[in-house]
């Protein structure tokens, strides 16, 4: 039951992008086509779950026993940076076309605040390891859901006759705002 609440709350009610504003950069950057949005979601899911597990272990088996919690930010970001490198090397070998499509955004996962944000939130909310993993997966799904819906919307707005001043980023942001409003409708569920 707890897990169901964590999942629904992370995907719909407190959506990581539309409600907590984490990972907005890739949300705006790779949302021009549904295909790249799907690829990005895959990469983020993989890194997010791995990063949450590793940072959880670091927090509980290194930082807390040695009482050096103030090194949290530094150690977490280094772990995430090396994980991203690993994912990049694997993707390059396994799926060169996907690697090509994600281009510059793959190294940018390092600076995707969603990853570090979820890792820190898991510690702050005092989840255990299992809850942390569920929370990370749910947030990755929430990120993917928002990203793919948004990519679909943008593919359509690209073909519409948008007022000149609002073309490009402004209309994308306004679309995101309306999407966020739609997600507010879920706020009573949990």
């Amino acid at each position: 039951m707890e897990y169901i609440i964590i999942i629904i709350s992370a995907i719909l009610v407190n959506n990581i992008v539309l409600n907590q504003f984490l990972g907005v950069c890739p949300f705006l950057g790779v949302s021009k086509k549904i295909e790249t949005a799907v690829g990005m979601t895959g990469a983020v899911t993989f890194v997010m779950v791995l990063a949450t597990i590793v940072t959880f272990l670091i927090q509980h088996y290194i930082l807390i026993p040695f009482e050096i919690q103030y090194l949290q930010t530094i150690s977490f970001i280094l772990v995430i940076a090396s994980l991203v490198q690993l994912v990049e090397i694997i993707l390059k070998k396994v799926s060169p076309s996907l690697h090509q499509a994600l281009g510059v955004f793959l190294p940018l996962i390092t600076t995707n605040c969603a990853i570090l944000g979820v890792a820190i939130l898991v510690i702050q909310k005092e989840f255990n390891l299992m809850e942390g993993v569920v929370y990370a997966i749910a947030n990755a799904i929430g990120f993917g859901l928002a990203l793919i819906i948004f990519a679909g919307l943008r593919e359509h707005t690209d073909l519409q006759d948008v007022p000149k001043g609002l073309k490009g980023v402004p209309i994308a942001l306004i679309t995101a705002g309306i999407l966020a409003m739609a997600f507010m409708g879920f706020s009573g569920i949990v």
Partner: protein
Amino acid sequence: MNQWKNFTKGFIKENPVFVLLLGMCPTLGTTGTAINGLGMGLATTFVLVMSNLVVSLIKNLIPDKVRIPAFIVVIATFVTIVEMVMQAYLPSLYESLGLFIPLIVVNCIVLGRAEAFASKNNVKSSVIDGAGIGLGFAFALTILGSVRELLGSGKVFDITIYPENYGMLIFILAPGAFIALGYIIAVINRLNKKNA
């Protein structure tokens, strides 16, 4: 390069938020009120100036291949300092910015300036560049925060402009952040086109 130009480019012409569209997460997440936006902007400015300073000092010592991790460690150090100082002296601001303070470390603007500017220029221009871009970021956040606070609750910096009952609550909530920023960027685009 002309240092004054180097300093002022961050405000309108190369504003990190409005023009370059970097650092969107703190921009949207911390601008519920003008004062939070300003606080976040100044914290980021401090990190930017200090990391630009250190990176430009040590740029010749770092091997090219490990420069990004090295930059991240430098940035994370200053973020940790900001976090501890804020927790000690500005606990209420620390509470309201919350998660976004440690997340300065993943702000693309900071790493972007270290990589694109500080690692190629001397100490003096790097510090000025950091201050210019940082204050431009603070400026953008304050504007967005003021607009949202005004439309949402009728106040700017806690000074009442019109009764709160007439405010549109949506602008303080998540959707309002996206919509307000969208319209501000449209206006800035228009201004930049006129100047060009």
